[in-house]
Amino acid sequence: MTASRLWVLALVTLCSGCEGMLEVSTPTTPPDDSDWPPKNVPSTQGTPATPPTGTTPPDPTVPGPTPNPPTMTDPGGTTVTCGAPPAARVWRLSHRQYDAAARAVLPVTSTPASTFEAETSGSGFTNGADTAYVSAALAADYFDAAEALAAQAVQHLDVLLPCTPADPANAACVKTFIERTGLRVFRTPLDTAQQARFFALFQKGTTPTQGVQMVLEAMLQSPGFLYRFELGGPGASGAQVPLTSYELASALSFLVWNAPPDDALLAAAKSGGLDTPAGVDAQVDRLVADPRARDFLWRFLAEDFQVGALETTTKDGAAFPAFTPALVADLQAEAHAFADDVVWNGAGTLSALLTADYSMLNQSLAGFYGVSGVTGTALRKVSLPTGQRAGLLTQGSFLAVRGDARSGSPVQRGLFVRERLLCQEMPAPPPNVIDTLPAPSATNTTRGRYQAHLSASSCAACHRLMDPIGFAFENYDGIGKWRTTENGVPVDASGELVSTKAINGTFTGALALANTLAQAREVSDCVAVSYFRYGLGRRDTPADACSVLAMKDAFAASGGKLATLARALVHTPGFAIRTRP
């Protein structure tokens, strides 16, 4: 037998793994969240929690984790075992959060993080906690930024110093400044050692103003500013402890705003306002109602739907001369404005995001979509051509990112649906795969070319899970322009969903596919899981089983309202409890 034939056999074996890839989980009863923090501590393993200490005075009204059933049961009777709460950790601020935090706590306007060392995406999103650390290059970036920001800030001593006149030579005034600014920069009160440390640093300045500047430089490079702490109070190894109230305040504000707590949230942390479910809910609702909530949710959607990648998507200039930087900028702006409008002005649901019959267009985009009567560069709400476009999956941003350089890509588009909307992870392409896909030419069609994947059994085992979904997008070319024929051949946009939980079947066109997806519980569940991962900067593990189920149920119960995802995540067991290392 020749080597290549051995390969084919090997591939058939490998891709048969595609058959068993269905995610197994079903709706469950939401956890009882009448206690705070919500918890999932198995009664047999629970370790009495140590109340939060450190900078937060122990508060007898904070309930420690009490024994709780270690399982959750879904309506079908399937029992899921809840694991231990996540491990204590530190989470370095994203660059976006760094800029937001600096602007929020100091009288500065610059955004130095835009030139910081690039970030990684270790957990599938750019904000993954696992691989976020402070490299040599980033330490130098932080150093430069701290000097620049502190120099700006001390131009506004009247704002910085809590006394009148704002005299940096007034030691008492500076001590109060260290205490108050330290609280805002570190998002938790300084302990006495820190207060002494920063005052001693102040005294080393050659002038009082320089002393203030040095204090700010050091604070901006300190772990208290650069990391979000999720340690909980002290406890023995393996102990399950609630986040301190200040840690919780940061967790809430960065989750909803991508920015640090404001004064009201810090005050709530201090006063015990976060010690009850009602208090936490009130703060979450307040944060979500603030315009600052738009940023984090858009970042999530841009990454989850991968439309943010448009900026670095490259196309063949000869095949798609229309794919100019100006079009890219317009398409990105459209996706952002559309998502914002759906979430905050419109129905607010995942379903609407996938099926809304309008978008936000300017004159250029209207030309791209074949809509008349729109003039000017400003985006505005415009109805889309009936039967051609509806929802984010039919916008140029998504379609261009999920297209090849010279054509559309049924594989990439179908793979997106399979992985990001159905949460089924495809095996990576096997090594030495035999690819018989013909190149695009003037005499073939995209669909015709990709049929090669389905006619070879070695390819079909996996590609039948992707390509027939992607075929639904055949009315759009590689950059998302509408077409009814390709190389003179009428477009065939019929497709099929297989290996789903409840939406197997055939359909024709992206709008029909989007409608099916929009109504599917498994798609709602998948987006909830993605938000869980983004919101926590990590992938879920088996120990998160109960949290993930709770997340899914809460999102579904909301009718798929995207703005409720934050509250759903806050309510998951384990959001506010950590296992001590």
Binding site: E117, G122, Y133, A137, A140, A405, P430, N432, A439
Partner: protein, 451 residues
């Protein structure tokens, strides 16, 4: 170690000019002074086309292939290696690592964790291990450069991460040519000498030392609360702050150099993800590496000639190439000729690096004699005659230079199926560290590659 240019410029403006005296003690390496050994890993994405890549002939009498022709002037210094396979693939059929995580495995010798992303390394990479072994008198020690990197919303950027300090500690390569230059040469000139103690400079140093001492104390206060991977992150942070403090607050010792040491001009600014200027950024990076090594400021470098994805549009190769070449030329039944031509273009750039190293006299020979310039890809071979892709076999490796007599020269070595991980041990030994493991990977050098 990253040297902050902005920080340095502030020092410069504080004093009239403060420079490190690179050439003050210019010295030739000779019989009594061994030249340092250096190693450069030069990556090209997406493998190659077997029919245009493979050399013909015997080990000692061979003909360079079409793709390797640009290296003909340096043939006597080459070791062309055939038969290296991607290490984590024990039997190729069981590879479930996909073709997207190899970049993060090429220099660590271990497969990455995570899915479809290369940032979750599971071992320290060889370049960083070597860096950790180098004497602190080597000022910058290592460079990690790339010509195109941008974190594009979690889509594929991680495939450009070759280096890591350890598990989950990726080293982000520098794509900005000015920042790359500054990492080595900020504060260094080839002709000046220190301007001597300056009160303003001394005051700035004292101020910075006080600030960074406070930062260090803050980090140390947090450290005991963490263990395991979380502690490792903080430890790394603390190490980097301390190195920064040393760099910024103490006068660096004079740099002793060989005669070939010159400081190039600071390169022009170039957006680190602009497609059209990839060739210019690559040439800039090569010059920085060659000059840095000639001045013994750096001994280890990793250069990504493009990125880990092959999604540039290499219009500079010729008409018809201005397209996302991964999509256009590396999948399906066509594109072999273009794939080969693109790889050849990258080999031309590698050849220019070889020429730079040969142009620096060192002892009785050149800097190339004391260096291993390693050309490699994370993918293997496609065949004109077939349509295989995502190959993990026959990774295209070439070594130029013997690294002080370690590697065979002027040879075309065909190996039995061998793990690329073992080659990393050749590199380790060649650099003067005859060890049996680095990080959590063990191995032995491939005997057939040794002189």
């Amino acid at each position: 170690m990253h040297f902050s240019r902005r920080s340095f410029l502030k020092l410069s403006t504080a004093a009239s000019l403060y420079v490190l005296p690179v050439l003050r003690a210019s010295r030739a390496y000779g019989a009594t002074t061994a030249a340092p050994k250096r190693i450069v890993f030069f990556h090209t994405p997406l493998g190659t086309v077997r029919d245009a890549w493979a050399c013909t002939g015997s080990e000692t009498s061979f003909t360079l292939s079409q793709i390797l022709q640009p290296l003909a002037p340096h043939k006597d210094s080459l070791l062309v290696i055939d038969g290296l396979n991607f290490a984590p693939v024990a039997s190729l059929a069981d590879d479930s690592t996909g073709n997207h995580k190899e970049p993060g495995s090429m220099l660590t010798g271990r497969s990455c964790d995570g899915r479809d992303e290369a940032s979750k390394h599971t071992n320290i990479s060889l370049d960083q291990y070597l860096k950790s072994k180098l004497p602190s008198t080597v000022r910058t020690r290592s460079l990690e450069l790339i010509t195109s990197y941008r974190n594009d919303f979690a889509l594929r950027a991680d495939r450009s991460l070759f280096s890591a300090l350890g598990p989950n500690l990726p080293v982000i390569p520098e794509a900005d040519p000015q920042k790359a230059f500054d990492r080595v040469f900020a504060g260094v000139t080839s002709s000046g000498s220190t301007s001597g103690p300056d009160p303003a400079v001394e005051a700035l140093r004292l101020k910075r030392k006080s600030v960074l001492d406070a930062v260090t104390a803050e980090l140390q206060a947090v450290q005991p609360q963490l263990t395991g991977a979380e502690r490792a992150k903080l430890d790394q942070h603390l190490t980097n702050v301390r190195e920064l403090e040393t760099r910024l607050t103490t006068a660096a010792p004079p740099v002793t150099t060989s005669a070939g040491c010159t400081v190039p001009g600071r390169p022009a600014a170039s957006p680190p993800y602009e497609n059209a200027s990839i060739p210019a950024r690559l040439q800039s990076h090569l010059k920085v590496v060659a000059n840095a090594m000639a001045c013994d400021l750096v001994r280890v470098a990793v250069i990504g000639a493009e990125n880990g994805q092959g999604r540039a549009s290499p219009g500079w190769v010729g008409a018809g190439y201005d397209t996302n070449w991964h999509d256009a030329f590396t999948h399906g039944t066509g594109g072999h000729a273009q794939h080969a031509a693109i790889h050849r273009w990258y080999v031309e750039q590698f050849a220019s690096l070889v020429a730079m190293f040969k142009s620096v006299k060192e002892g009785a020979g050149t800097m190339l004699d004391n260096t291993a310039l390693v050309l490699f890809s994370e993918q293997g071979c496609r065949y004109n005659s077939g349509t295989t892709e995502h190959s993990k076999q026959n990774l295209p490796y070439v070594v130029a230079g013997s690294c002080g007599g370690y590697f065979k020269q002027g040879r075309f070595v065909t190996l039995p199926t061998t793990s690329h991980k073992d080659f990393l041990f050749n590199c380790l030994h060649a650099m003067g560290y005859p060890e049996t493991s680095f990080g959590n990977v063990s191995g032995t050098p491939i005997a057939a590659l040794k002189a």
